[in-house]
């Protein structure tokens, strides 16, 4: 179902406000990650180049699906994929995301940062009308060509590994609702990140791997939803296996 004009307008205003103020909050956020917490993303230049190539290689909407270990994964992904200068020139590259309302909307500062940082809050496991409303907004954004980042597991991996059993199927529904939707699977992990946490450890070095897929299902309805979600999570699990085979802990 499409969203109402008022909601579309509100998303446009949010996007514009995020762009206008990005030089302040974006630089501060990335500055804190780089210099305050001393985070480093390995092969940042190559990652950005690869992202640009992958985006160019497909037509249509791109949904970014990542494994999820810390509360700032989406910030690290946005930092890794595109440079600050590119965001300043064109904020359309900045990915929208769906943070859990309970984690990020409990104080004014975080709420403002999430608003400016293109977030559409979601109440996971909460009122299904409200969840549906958030998903409808994201579906609209994807159809309009905005990148959107979601975590298909539906939460941070409690075991520290991609959860191929208890994941949420919402991502499958999203992909099936958006015509020609490609999925950019991202495996992100700090080398010293043993399991899930709030924030990565100070000085963490991140490994980021990505691959573009186009999940399809021979089924229809709910079965297709499940099938597509499984394909995405299984891809992330494969990337995790490759990570441990090469970088191993």
């Amino acid at each position: 179902m499409d969203i109402r004009f008022r909601e579309k307008l509100s998303l446009r205003i949010q996007h514009l406000a995020g762009w206008i103020t990005f030089p302040v909050w974006g630089s501060a956020l990335i500055g804190i990650m780089r210099f305050g917490a001393r985070y480093k993303v390995e092969q940042l230049h190559q990652i950005r180049k690869q992202y640009k190539q992958l985006k160019k290689s497909v037509e249509g909407p791109v949904l970014v699906c990542s494994n999820h270990l810390t509360k700032i994964d989406s910030a690290i992904i946005n930092w890794s994929l595109v440079s600050v200068w590119t965001y300043m020139r064109s904020f359309k590259f900045f990915s929208w995301n769906l943070p859990e309302r309970a984690n990020f909307y409990n104080n004014f500062f975080l709420r403002t940062l999430c608003y400016l940082g293109s977030c559409v809050p979601i109440d996971r496991g909460g009122n299904r009308e409200a969840v549906k409303k958030s998903l409808d907004k994201v579906t609209y954004l994807l159809r309009k060509g905005h990148p959107v980042t979601v975590f298909p597991e539906g939460g941070r991996s409690r075991t520290g590994r991609v959860d191929v059993e208890g994941f949420s199927y919402g991502v499958g529904r999203l992909v099936n609702k958006v015509k020609d939707c490609h999925v950019l699977c991202i495996y992100l992990r700090g080398h010293n990140q043993e399991t899930y946490s709030g924030m990565p450890k100070r000085g963490a070095r991140f490994h980021l791997e990505m691959t573009m897929i186009k999940p399809e299902s021979v089924h229809a309805g709910l079965r297709a939803t499940k099938d597509v979600a499984e394909q995405i999570v299984n891809q992330l699990a494969l990337m995790e296996q490759a990570y441990f085979a090469t970088c191993g802990q």
Partner: protein
């Protein structure tokens, strides 16, 4: 199939996913699948897929969203039989 028979089979399906200690004989039409049976919302799709298999029906995404209580599930199945 009567509503009572459908109810019995629905309770059987739900018991596979339930993490609550609520005994089967205490489950009624008003029992909330998420809150009372403590079933993870992500598993609702699996439950509805089980409904499809057991009752040989087809349920779309929007109909699946309407299943909040045991009674919602039973009514949905009865309407599709």
């Amino acid at each position: 199939m009567t509503q009572d028979e459908v109810f019995g089979k629905v309770v059987e399906i739900l018991s596979k996913y339930s993490k609550s200690d609520l005994p089967a004989d205490k489950i009624n039409m008003e029992t909330s699948i998420l809150d009372d049976l403590k079933i993870n919302s992500a598993r609702l799709v699996d439950i509805v897929l089980d409904f499809e298999d057991v009752f040989d029906i087809e349920v779309d995404d929007d109909d699946a969203d309407s299943v909040i209580t045991v009674g919602d599930g039973v009514k949905l199945i009865v309407s599709k039989l």
